[in-house]
């Protein structure tokens, strides 16, 4: 996993780095889960989601918004992301376990995925992206 939190006064800004898009999306997913929940989760349940979008940035925004939705309504803490990226579409298998307040409680509530500064860049041999979680 390669993500780090950067300073942002109001919200939570994550800097993500990966070799290729699927890795970048997966790490962004881990960053979101790490913000929302504490502790570790095991991959005991899985959910498959598909999102579409006209650009990689739109796909990332849609993927994270869907991950937030699935986690909240299914009360699942996800820890593994298997991604299949095609042009304009991502199929993602999300794996995790049910939320347990004793294990995962005390995280930060994420209200939404912000478009602020959401731009995927190719830097030398890696992809980088800043993602802002509105909290």
């Amino acid at each position: 996993m390669s993500f780090e939190e950067k300073d942002h006064t109001a919200d939570i800004l994550m800097h993500i780095r990966a070799d290729e898009p699927a890795g970048l999306f997966a790490d962004a997913g881990h960053a979101l889960m790490k913000t929302m929940y504490r502790g570790h989760a095991k991959p005991v349940q899985e959910v498959t989601v598909t999102v579409t979008g006209p650009s990689l940035e739109h796909l990332l925004h849609a993927f994270l918004s869907e991950l937030l939705f699935e986690s909240e309504v299914r009360n699942l803490v996800f820890c593994e992301f298997e991604l299949f990226i095609n042009e304009g579409e991502i199929k993602a298998v999300l794996r995790g376990e049910p939320f347990d307040p004793l294990v995962h409680g005390g995280g930060t509530e994420v209200k939404g995925i912000s478009w602020h500064g959401l731009s995927i860049k190719q830097e030398q041999n890696e992809l980088t992206c800043d993602v802002l979680f509105d909290v």
Partner: protein, 477 residues
């Protein structure tokens, strides 16, 4: 950073038209010499950006709790002409109708010998934190009704009394709500969370009135020194967050459809009279109603705990008022000497209508609308009153809180939740939260001084101090 900024008075600063290209009106913000040290360049830029939006009238405004937000700065206020203006989720925020309410009790501090047990019981009664769910199970039909009628739905279902409705901004219901513009996803998120506090800066606090500044207004609002009060700060939960997410996508496309030129994608908007603008407004109003119902149901849970544990009557726990601080509303304000129908966006700002204004409850008509300003954890909160000056200068608006100065990550690095809990404990303030980390994030040092922010709005006259409330016990999500 202040190059090009004109100081207009002790607390008033202006970004003139031309500060950035495309501004239709000037931008104004209100800060003391002390608070201007905390002003972020990004927030200033956002304030100027708002002044470029179609149909904006008079000026783009920011209250003294200004800080960098999404689209609009937090603390931002802007009004757009109804016929030619726009509506933007960036001027409302993800947490639609995040707001605060103040309850009074007949209790004194000497009645709180079992304060810790009361707090424990409140913690059990009001679900707090990420992942918690309400014991309430709303049917689809009930949720539709809740989104249409807001606090009235909750009271009709037995979660309060008629006085509660009278003492909410908009009487706890925006009549423009249209649940048809609330997606299936938003409804799915909303069902299990109605009656929950959430996390982040949301809280439930036991407070005591520490000082009265305006005896007459305090009497009108039914507050007195030494009285135990409860303050609740929360919003529309996942339902409102999803409404924002869903409509942002639609409005992003509307920007090009209606040839709107914007300096920042986060200001995605649509004409108020367009199908996209009307759809967002209807969905946003439905989410606002959800928030009022949510705070009303939490109020019922609080009353149940206090009646059981303190031997007081349910109806003796009185709602002073409930204000929204993330919302867009259709109001009439004087523009160029003429009363004009406008859409006022308040993003981290509180309505502060003066005496005799419409929607100020009849029993408060002479004093003006109560304004409730929560402090950061462990610091003072304030009760103020709306003024005629606010009607003339800020579209009847004032600040909403303290405003952050430290990021959450900085706060967690510098401050340990356990230390804060112990320090506040020594001062007689009990803090209860699912985890010490969430205490550190919301530590008092992470915020501007609420006293300084409130003193600016008081001295400017856009709201006037009535009472100061001191925390005794805090429930944090």
């Amino acid at each position: 950073m202040l190059n090009g900024v004109i100081r207009k008075g002790e607390y008033e600063w202006e970004l003139p038209v031309g500060f950035i290209p495309g501004m239709h009106v000037p931008a104004r913000f209100f800060l003391s010499d002390e608070l201007i040290k905390t002003l972020e360049e990004g927030a200033l830029q956002q304030l100027a950006n708002v002044a470029t939006m179609p149909g904006i009238v008079k000026s783009s405004l920011a209250m003294p709790d200004i800080h960098w937000g999404y689209g609009f700065p937090i603390g931002g206020v802007a009004a757009f002409e109804y016929d030619s203006g726009v509506i933007s989720p960036g001027g409302v925020g993800f947490d639609i109708n995040c707001g605060v309410r103040l309850l009074t009790t007949p209790l004194k501090q000497s009645d709180l010998a079992k304060k810790k047990e009361i707090l424990d019981n409140l913690y059990d009664a009001v679900p707090v934190g990420v992942g918690t769910r309400s014991s309430l199970r709303l049917s689809e039909k009930q949720l539709e009704k809740l989104m249409t009628s807001g606090a009235t739905f909750a009271v009709d279902e037995g979660y309060g009394n008629q006085d509660d409705i009278i003492h909410c901004e908009e009487q706890g219901c925006m009549k423009e709500a249209d649940p048809a513009h609330v997606s299936r996803k938003a409804k799915t998120r909303g069902v299990p969370q109605c009656g929950t506090l959430g996390a982040g800066n949301h809280f439930l606090e036991i407070q005591v009135i520490g000082e009265i500044y305006d005896e007459e207004a305090a009497k009108t609002y039914g507050v007195e020194k030494g009285q135990i009060c409860i303050m609740v700060h929360c919003g529309s939960r996942g339902l409102g967050h999803q409404v924002c997410t869903d409509h942002l996508q639609v409005l992003e496309n509307a920007v090009s459809k209606y040839n709107i030129s914007l300096p920042d994608k986060q200001l995605a908007c649509a004409p108020l009279t367009s199908p996209e603008g009307k759809a967002y407004f209807g969905g946003m109003a439905a989410a606002a109603n959800y928030a009022w119902a949510n705070r009303q149901i939490i109020t019922h849970q609080i009353r149940n705990v206090l009646t059981r544990m303190c031997g007081i009557d349910y109806d003796d726990i009185r709602l002073v008022y409930d204000v929204a601080h993330n919302v867009a509303k259709i109001e009439e304000h004087a523009v160029d000497g003429k009363m004009t129908k406008v859409c006022v966006h308040r993003k981290g700002a509180t309505r502060a209508f003066g005496p005799g204004c419409p929607d100020v409850p009849a029993d408060y008509a002479n004093a003006g609308q109560p304004v409730i300003i929560p402090g950061s954890m462990g610091s003072s909160s304030y009760l103020l009153k709306g003024t005629d000056i606010a009607m003339k200068r800020t579209f009847g608006s004032t600040c909403h809180g303290a405003g952050r100065v430290l990021s959450r990550s900085q706060a967690k690095k510098r401050i340990k939740g356990k230390n804060i809990r112990e320090t506040l404990g020594k001062a007689g303030i009990i803090v209860k939260a699912p985890h010490d980390g969430s205490i550190a994030e919301e530590a008092p040092d992470a915020y501007k001084s609420s006293s300084e922010v409130v003193s600016v709005v008081h001295n400017l006259g856009i709201s006037r101090l009535v009472a100061r409330l001191e925390p005794l016990g805090v429930l944090k999500g």
